[in-house]
C-alpha cells in the first residue's frame, strides 16, 4: 500500500542546507501496524510528515520516492495530493490542545475531512461525526459535538483528534507520538483504542514514538532511527530480543523497566530527615483584591509521611494529583498551606522537571553555579571558581562548561548542571521533581545512574517525584502513591508493587505494564 524508498529530506531554510533524513525506506501493507522509534532529532517525525505530505515544498527538499497505492506523493499535483490527505491518509499529532483549532467547535472539526471529501448534507455530517465520537468512546457525543477544545480534558481531546482523523475511514493512519502528552492510564486507553480501530476497521497505522515499550505492545514491525538514518528494522520481537546494531542494543538497555538499580535501604536504624504531618496546600486564587473571592482549590489534602537520611523515596501519581505541589510545600515555596513540615537538615534543594526553565538563560553556567556562594558570602573568587568546577566534575562535565550559557547545552547537560547547582550548597535532602521526564531515554538512564551515584557517595536523601512507575521502581525502596491530593498508598516497594491494596495503585501498575 505504502512504499517509501531512499527518502532524503534537506532543510534549505538555513545557512548551511542540512539533511535531516537520509535514505529512509519503509513499506506498509493494508491493516498493518508499523512503528518508528528514535530519540529527539532522529528524523522520525520528519519522515512521517513527509509521507503525510505536510512538509513545505518550498523549504524542504525531498529526494527519493513515496508511493501510495499508485501515486507518487512527492511529485503529484497539489490538488491530487489534497484528495488523498484526510481521505486515504490521515494524521494524529502529539499535542491535542494545540493541534485542534481553538475557536472552532469539536463537531465542526471532526466533520471537516468528510465535508471536504464528500458531498453529504449537514444532517448526515452531524450523524457521522456523532457516531464517530461514540466509536472513540466519548461518553456524551452529542454534548461534545457543540463544545470547544479547551472545554475537554487532554485524553478526550486526543480521542477527538482520532475521531477526526478516522471520519473518512482512511487506509493509513499516521500517529505521531499520540500518547506522549497524556497520563499513563489515559495512554493505555488510547493504545487500546488504536488497537481496536485497527482490528475492527482494518486501518493500517504508522505509529511514531520515543517509547519503546509502547511500540512493543502495539506494533508488529518496527524501524529504529538515529540521527536521520534507519539503524535497524524488522519484526518487533526480533528487534527487541536480538538487536543487531550497537545503537539499538544501547537504546533497549536504557528503557526503564521493573528492575532494581539502586541498593536497598533499611529504615530501621536510620535517622529522620523530614517529617510531614497533616499537610494541606491550596493554589493561590487569582482574583481581584476588591472582589471577594474564595480560597484557591485544595491541591494537597492532609498528607503525612516520614523520610530518612540517605533514603531515596518515590512519590508517584498522575498529572494534577498534587505531587509537585507537595514537593513545593515541603520546601516552603507556597503561601497557603496547613500542617507541619519538620526538616532535620538545613538547606534542602530542588531539581526541577524542565531543564530549560531552571537555568537563567542570561547567565553563564559558572555564574549560575557561583550564585549560591555569592549569596552566602565569605568565598573568595578563586574559592567560588574551584567549588563550581568541582561540582561540575561530580556530575560528569568538565571545566569548559563554566563559560557556556544554558542555550548551548543539551537537555541532559542542563539537567546535570541543575544537579550540580543543587549540590553546591551541600544539602542533605534534595527534592527532585520529575527530573528525567523531559529527557530522551538514553539520557534519562544516565541521569538516573548519576543520582544513584550521588546518593551512594554523598549520602544525600532524594525525594523522587515521578509519574513513571518503572523509574521509581529502579530507584526507590519506599514508595508513596498520590491521587487527587491524597496519599492512597505508601510502603516498601514490595508492599506497593507486589501486593497493592488500593485499586488505583493496581490500575496504575497494570497501565504501566507491571507483571506483564
Amino acid at each position: 500500500m505504502l512504499e517509501v524508498t531512499d527518502l532524503n529530506i534537506e532543510i534549505e531554510d538555513s545557512l548551511i542546507p542540512e539533511t535531516v533524513v537520509y535514505d529512509f525506506d519503509i513499506t506498509i501493507s493494508p491493516g498493518e501496524i508499523v512503528g518508528i522509534v528514535g530519540e529527539s532529532g532522529s528524523g522520525k517525525s520528519m519522515s512521517a510528515l513527509a509521507i503525510a505530505g505536510l512538509l513545505s515544498r518550498k523549504d524542504m527538499k525531498k529526494k527519493g520516492s513515496i508511493m501510495f497505492e499508485d501515486v507518487e506523493l512527492l511529485s503529484v499535483e497539489r490538488s491530487h495530493l489534497r484528495k488523498i490527505q484526510g481521505n486515504d491518509i490521515s494524521v494524529v499529532f502529539q499535542e491535542p490542545m494545540t493541534s485542534l483549532n481553538p475557536v472552532k467547535k469539536i463537531g465542526w472539526q471532526v466533520e471537516e475531512a468528510l465535508r471536504i471529501h464528500s458531498s453529504l448534507s449537514d444532517e448526515e455530517l452531524r450523524n457521522a461525526a456523532i457516531s464517530m465520537l461514540r466509536d472513540v468512546e466519548i461518553s456524551e457525543p452529542e454534548a461534545a459535538y457543540d463544545k470547544y477544545p479547551h472545554e475537554l480534558s487532554g485524553g478526550m481531546r486526543q480521542r477527538v483528534m482520532i475521531a477526526a482523523a478516522l471520519i473518512c475511514d482512511p487506509k493509513l493512519l499516521i500517529a505521531d507520538e499520540p500518547t506522549t502528552a497524556l497520563d499513563v492510564t489515559i495512554q493505555a486507553q488510547i493504545i487500546e483504542l488504536l488497537k481496536k480501530i485497527n482490528r475492527e476497521k482494518g486501518t493500517a497505522i504508522l505509529f511514531i514514538s520515543h517509547d519503546l515499550s509502547l511500540v512493543r505492545t502495539l506494533c508488529s514491525r518496527v524501524i529504529v532511527m538515529n540521527k536521520g538514518r534507519v539503524v535497524e528494522s524488522g519484526p518487533v520481537d526480533e528487534i527487541f530480543d536480538s538487536p543487531k546494531e550497537e545503537y539499538t542494543k544501547h537504546l533497549i538497555e536504557a528503557i526503564p523497566r521493573f528492575t532494581k538499580i539502586a541498593g536497598r535501604f533499611d529504615t530501621k536504624d536510620a535517622k529522620p530527615i523530614l517529617k510531614v504531618e497533616n499537610v494541606s496546600a491550596r493554589y493561590k486564587k487569582i482574583t481581584g483584591y476588591f472582589v471577594p473571592g474564595s480560597r484557591g482549590r485544595q491541591v494537597v489534602k492532609d498528607v503525612s509521611f516520614d523520610m530518612y537520611e540517605g533514603e531515596i523515596l518515590g512519590l508517584v501519581g498522575e498529572s494534577g494529583c498534587g505531587k509537585t505541589t507537595l514537593g513545593k510545600t515541603i520546601l516552603g515555596m507556597l503561601d497557603d498551606t496547613e500542617g507541619s513540615v519538620v526538616h532535620y537538615s538545613k538547606m534542602p534543594q530542588m531539581i526541577f522537571q524542565d531543564p530549560y526553565g531552571s537555568l537563567n538563560p542570561t547567565k553563564t553556567i559558572g555564574r549560575i553555579l557561583e550564585e549560591p556562594l555569592r549569596i552566602k558570602g565569605g568565598y573568595s573568587k578563586e574559592a567560588r571558581y574551584e567549588k563550581a568546577k568541582d561540582m561540575l566534575s561530580r556530575v560528569g562535565l568538565d571545566e569548559s562548561y563554566l563559560s557556556r550559557r544554558p542555550s548551548a547545552l543539551s537537555g541532559g547537560q542542563r539537567q546535570r548542571v541543575c544537579i550540580a547547582l543543587a549540590l553546591i550548597m551541600d544539602p542533605k535532602l534534595i527534592v527532585a521533581d520529575e527530573p528525567v521526564s523531559a529527557l530522551d531515554v538514553t539520557v534519562q538512564d544516565q541521569v538516573i545512574k548519576l543520582l544513584i551515584k550521588l546518593n551512594k557517595e554523598l549520602g544525600i536523601a532524594i525525594l523522587f517525584i515521578s509519574h513513571d512507575l518503572k523509574v521509581v521502581y529502579e530507584l526507590c525502596s519506599r514508595i508513596i502513591v498520590m491521587k487527587d491530593g491524597k496519599i492512597v498508598e505508601q510502603g516498601t516497594d514490595e508492599e506497593v508493587f507486589s501486593n497493592p491494596k488500593d485499586p488505583y495503585t493496581k490500575q496504575l501498575l497494570s497501565s504501566a505494564g507491571y507483571g506483564i
Partner: protein, 313 residues
C-alpha cells in the same frame, strides 16, 4: 451574568478613575476658577465670596462628585474666554470631529483588511513585497506631514479642493463631507499601513501553529486553511489594534484639524490650552476619555464573541 456585572463594575471603576484624574489635574493648576473669573486685581474679600458661591471651599470629594454629576447631566461650566456655556460650544463641533473620525476609521478598515489578506496570501509575489515596502514608508510619515503634502499636491497643484475652504455641515452637508475626505486620508493612510502589516504578521505567525498542520492533513486547500481556520484566530490582535486606533484617531484628528483648518474639537482644545480656558479643556478631555473607555469596552466584548476561550468560566 456574573461576567456582565464584573465588566460593568470595572467599567464604572475606570470611568471614576479617569474622571478623577482629569479633575485632580485641573485642580492642581495654580489659580482657581474664582481668580480666573474676577481677574488678578480682584480683592481677597470678593474672591472669597465668589469661592463660597461657586462651592470651591467644599471638601475635595464633594466638589469632585458634584462636578461629575453636572458633567453627566450636560452642565460643563462656563468658558472663561467666551463667557458662554461649554456645552453649547462643544455641541456644535461634535458632528465635525465624529464625522472625521468615522470617515478615517472606515478608510482604515476597507484599505487594510483586503490588502493584508492579499499580501499574506501571495507572500512571494513582487506586488506583495512592493506593498510591504510602501507600507513601511507610509507608516513612518507623520499624519500632519502627510496632510501638508496632500494640501500641496491636491489642493495647490491639482486644485481638487480648496485648502482652508471648510464648509460647515449645517450649510452644505455634501461639501462638508467632500472637504473632510482629504484630512481623513491623511489620518487613515499611516494607520492603514500599520493595520495591514499587523494583519499580515498575525496571519503568518498563526500559520506556523499546529492546528494549521492538522487542517492541511485533512485535505484543505491553502485558501480554505486561510479563510476557514487561520483568519478567525488571526483577526483577534487586529481588532485590538483597530480599537486602539479609533482612540488614536480622535487624538490624531486634533493635529489634522490644525493642518486643514477644520473647526473641530482639536482646534478648540489647542486654542483653549493656549488661552488657559480650563473648563473647555477639561470638558473636551473628559469627553474624549469617555469615548476611549467605551471603545475599549466594546473591543473587549468583541473578543469574547471571537474567542470561545475567553467566554464564561
Amino acid at each position: 451574568m456574573k461576567t456582565i456585572l464584573k465588566k460593568a463594575a470595572s467599567f464604572i471603576m475606570t470611568v471614576l478613575l479617569v474622571t478623577l484624574f482629569v479633575f485632580i489635574a485641573f485642580d492642581l493648576i495654580p489659580g482657581d476658577a474664582a481668580t480666573n473669573r474676577l481677574g488678578i486685581n480682584a480683592t481677597p474679600e470678593a474672591l472669597e465670596r465668589l469661592r463660597e458661591e461657586m462651592g470651591l471651599t467644599k471638601p475635595f470629594f464633594v466638589r469632585y462628585f458634584s462636578w461629575l454629576a453636572s458633567f453627566f447631566f450636560g452642565d460643563m461650566g462656563i468658558s472663561y474666554s467666551y463667557g458662554v456655556s461649554v456645552r453649547s460650544m462643544l455641541a456644535s463641533k461634535l458632528p465635525i470631529t465624529v464625522t472625521l473620525t468615522v470617515m478615517s476609521f472606515i478608510m482604515i478598515v476597507i484599505l487594510s483588511i483586503p490588502i493584508g489578506l492579499y499580501t499574506s496570501k501571495y507572500e512571494d509575489r513582487a506586488a506583495s513585497k512592493a506593498v510591504d515596502i510602501l507600507g513601511q514608508i507610509t507608516m513612518s510619515i507623520p499624519p500632519f506631514f502627510l496632510g501638508i503634502l496632500i494640501t500641496y499636491v491636491f489642493g495647490m497643484i491639482f486644485k481638487v479642493f480648496t485648502p482652508g475652504g471648510f464648509v460647515s455641515y449645517d450649510i452644505n452637508f455634501g461639501k462638508f463631507l467632500g472637504y473632510l475626505v482629504f484630512p481623513s486620508i491623511a489620518i487613515a493612510l499611516p494607520k492603514a499601513a500599520m493595520s495591514t502589516k499587523l494583519l499580515k504578521s498575525s496571519i503568518l505567525s498563526e500559520r506556523k501553529l499546529d492546528y494549521v498542520r492538522t487542517a492541511y492533513s485533512r485535505g484543505n486547500s491553502t485558501m480554505d486553511v486561510l479563510y476557514k481556520h487561520v483568519l478567525k484566530n488571526a483577526i483577534i490582535p487586529v481588532i485590538t489594534f483597530l480599537g486602539m486606533t479609533l482612540a488614536d484617531i480622535v487624538a490624531g484628528s486634533l493635529v489634522i484639524e490644525q493642518v486643514f483648518s477644520i473647526p473641530g474639537y482639536g482646534r478648540l482644545l489647542i486654542s483653549s490650552i493656549a488661552n488657559r480656558d480650563y473648563p473647555v479643556v477639561q470638558a473636551i478631555i473628559a469627553i474624549i476619555a469617555m469615548i476611549v473607555i467605551i471603545i475599549n469596552t466594546l473591543v473587549d466584548t468583541t473578543y469574547k464573541v471571537l474567542d470561545p476561550r475567553l467566554r464564561g468560566s
